[in-house]
């Protein structure tokens, strides 16, 4: 059942993405000011939303572990963080390419870019710390605490700097009329596609972790005999 769900979600995500690629690359025209490069937006923003959703899942799962002490939550938190990290990287790389084209620079210490980079570093720390702890219960507990610490930082960084001007454009999604209506469907569908692919990857990771734990317990059992 679970296997089928993984295959289904993955296939659905890829199909939507392919259909979107056709629309984005062949049907939509170039943008007036930016030319062809604006199409990277359809990957830049969905990567960011997927990453944020994954980190939120990791936060909930971490809190879940601390409350229930069930290892399934720890596994979910780790898997979500890993996948979220990949999407956050994708967001920064596409953003950097876009910036090079439009602003002429790869990177600037603008509020939005800085806060994203800090977010990325926080979860990098999480991923580095996990394998450094041998004992499973301790690893799960400390990772969960760190995940909560990390997530609390994000809104602070984000809001603390909204009072200053940024080079990164203002949010286009929440401002009415900021975006051509024709761009909405492919954007939303791309968000869905990326989220589906992210969830698929996360479930694959979950299965790996479960198998790993099973092997571990079998090995211990064999040693015991």
């Amino acid at each position: 059942m679970r296997e089928k769900a993984i295959y289904f979600m993955g296939t659905l995500g890829v199909l939507i993405l392919m259909r979107n690629l056709y629309v984005i690359l062949l049907q939509l025209g170039d943008e007036m000011q930016q030319g062809a490069i604006y199409r990277i937006f359809f990957f830049h923003l969905p990567a960011a939303t997927t990453a944020c959703i994954m980190f939120a899942i990791a936060l909930v799962a971490s809190a879940g572990f601390l409350i229930t002490r069930k290892f399934a939550f720890d596994t979910a938190a780790a898997a979500a963080t890993e996948v979220g990290f990949v999407f956050a990287t994708m967001n920064m790389v596409t953003g950097s390419i876009w910036a090079r084209n439009i602003w002429g620079i790869w990177w600037t210490w603008d509020a939005r870019l800085t806060s994203m980079f800090i977010l990325w570093l926080l979860y990098l720390g999480y991923l580095i710390m996990r394998p450094a702890i041998e004992e499973p219960t301790q690893r799960a507990t400390l990772s969960a605490v760190l995940s909560i610490f990390a997530f609390c930082d994000v809104p602070i960084v984000y809001y603390s700097i909204q009072w200053w001007r940024t080079q990164h454009p203002a949010p286009v999604l929440t401002t009415p009329g900021a975006m051509d209506p024709a761009l909405w469907p492919p954007l939303l569908l791309n968000m869905l596609a990326m989220l589906l692919i992210g969830l698929t990857l996360m479930m694959v990771r979950l299965r790996q972790e479960r198998v790993l734990r099973e092997i571990d317990s079998l090995r211990r059992y064999a040693h015991a005999i």
Partner: protein, 226 residues
């Protein structure tokens, strides 16, 4: 009241053992001096440059010096299983945490207050113009660093590569407080009053301190006891 006394006892114990051995404070202070020396060659700053980057320089020095002190905070309890004994004492985990945090706070603030005039001499910066607001900034920034740093010191005390993990985890989480402290320090060293934009930075620092003090106190029992 009882809790306050426990906090005071733990802080007192930490400070006394530190003042007898002086290992963390000596290492931290000499490390700060070395970094100040390296910076003077890295930038070869003119008076104008120095004024612009003064806050950044100072807080990089403080952050490095702080990591050394904070690393010791829980690591010093590892030999002879002192940490287990401390956890077994009949005081709440947050009292233990606050005691240790306050001890580190005082030590780090002392290092900073010695570094400040030395920085003034080396880089020809007049640091006493807005001394009281500057002191407030140092205290708030250092409080942020010691709160998170002590919590992470407890978090990393039993894992491999402890000395490396602490800064890797600490600095990104600390970033908002560091940004506020750096901007505020630079402006105050340039003789600006505590108003306008500076109030915003001050609010950022205070908000950060409140959030992370609450979070650390709430989670420390989980970290120490499991």
């Amino acid at each position: 009241m009882q809790t306050l006394r426990s906090v005071f006892t733990v802080a007192h114990k930490d400070l006394r053992s530190e003042l007898r051995s002086k290992e963390a404070i000596n290492a931290s202070f000499s490390f700060a001096l070395v970094i100040l020396l390296i910076f003077s060659f890295a930038f070869d700053p003119t008076a104008e440059d120095t004024r612009r980057i003064a806050g950044g320089l100072l807080w990089v020095v403080f952050a490095f010096a702080g990591a050394l002190i904070l690393n010791r905070s829980f690591a010093r309890e590892v030999p002879n299983d002192c940490l287990d004994a401390l956890i077994a004492t009949p005081i709440p985990a947050y009292a233990l945490f606050l005691g240790k945090a306050i001890a580190s706070f005082l030590l780090l603030l002392a290092v900073e207050l010695v570094c400040l005039p030395i920085f003034g001499i080396f880089y020809n910066v007049r640091w006493a113009v807005q001394f009281l607001p500057l002191l407030l900034t140092l205290a708030l920034g250092t409080w942020a660093m010691t709160m998170i740093g002590t919590a992470f010191s407890a978090l990393t005390v039993n894992i491999r590569l402890r000395e490396l993990m602490l800064p890797v985890l600490l600095y990104p989480v600390l970033m908002p407080a560091l940004i506020g402290a750096i901007e505020l320090t630079t402006n105050l060293l340039n003789g600006e009053m505590l108003s306008g934009n500076n109030i915003t930075f001050l609010k950022l620092l205070i908000g950060f301190d409140i959030i992370y003090t609450a979070l650390s106190v709430a989670l420390i029992e989980t970290v120490l006891v499991g």
